[in-house]
């Protein structure tokens, strides 16, 4: 009985987060997270960056849930590896755009830098194709 209680207590402690942490993602690594999720691209228009992002998402087997040109956002879903959702936001800068992506797998935010490295590697290919109007 004792061991069962210890086991249950351990399991409940593993997932223990306050409401504030659950709703706002806690604090601390905000800048670091932003950095690994962001890519700056020069000599590209907002439209080209958004179209390239959408093409990449299709390449990666996502379907588009929402797209908003004015906000520069695209949200998409993929149904392999559970349910993966991603939002890409493109913002115009002086020299080009910044592209930020953040993804979740079900209730878990994807924090592995490799996720974003892989996404931006795929995006680079689409950017080349869109800028050169080859598709």
């Amino acid at each position: 009985m004792k061991t069962l209680i210890i086991t249950l207590a351990f399991i409940s402690l593993v997932g223990c987060q306050t409401l504030s942490q659950q709703a706002t993602g806690g604090g601390g690594t905000q800048l670091q997270t932003r950095q690994l999720q962001t890519k700056n691209v020069e000599d590209i228009t907002k439209t080209q960056a958004l179209r390239a992002s959408i093409a990449t998402l299709q390449d990666l087997e996502f379907v588009i849930d929402k797209a908003d040109f004015v906000l520069g956002s695209v949200t998409a879903t993929k149904l392999t590896y559970g349910i993966i959702k991603i939002t890409v936001i493109v913002r115009k800068t002086k020299r080009g755009v910044t592209i930020r992506a953040n993804a979740r797998q079900g209730k878990n935010p994807l924090a592995d830098p490799l996720v974003y490295q892989n996404f931006f590697t795929a995006l680079d290919k689409s950017i080349f194709l869109v800028k050169n109007k080859i598709n």
Binding site: F10, L60, E61, I64, A67, D68, K78, N108, L110, A122
Partner: protein, 174 residues
Amino acid sequence: MSITKILSITLAAAILTGCVGNPVEAFKLSATNLQDRQIQSRVYKKIKEESILAASAAVFQDMGYTLSESETRLGVITATKDADATDGGQVALAIFAALFGGGQAAIDDKQRFTTTIVVLPRGSSDTHTVRMTMQRVVWNTQGNVSKLETIKDETVYKTFFEKLSKAVFLEKNI
């Protein structure tokens, strides 16, 4: 209860509450990416982007879909459709299992298709690539999700583009 047993139970519980595959792989282009893109794309010449989008929306309506999102400035339309998912083979197996005392097996019941059309301008003016991608979620008779998948069946795309080609023809000649 031994330490090993406690550890195994704890680990099993942790695994059950956690992950579904390695998401890093989900962001890599698959080996069949180029082939998939070809199956899912067609090029249309001498037609404006807004006319292709109008033709695509009309085809979605023809197929019984409702539009859930559109952003014409980015050439995107997404549509969904709920449909029956009953599979004759599964029904036969379930009856067979019940006859031999296997109890009532859950079989596929209903499904939701989500389809995105993206129109991309190509080099020459009024030439566009249209790419369609499709996913589905299937629920079984117990109300649980039984399938989450990207549709790769070539026939689905072939049929869709046959319909779209007709709609584009109509759009050009209206």
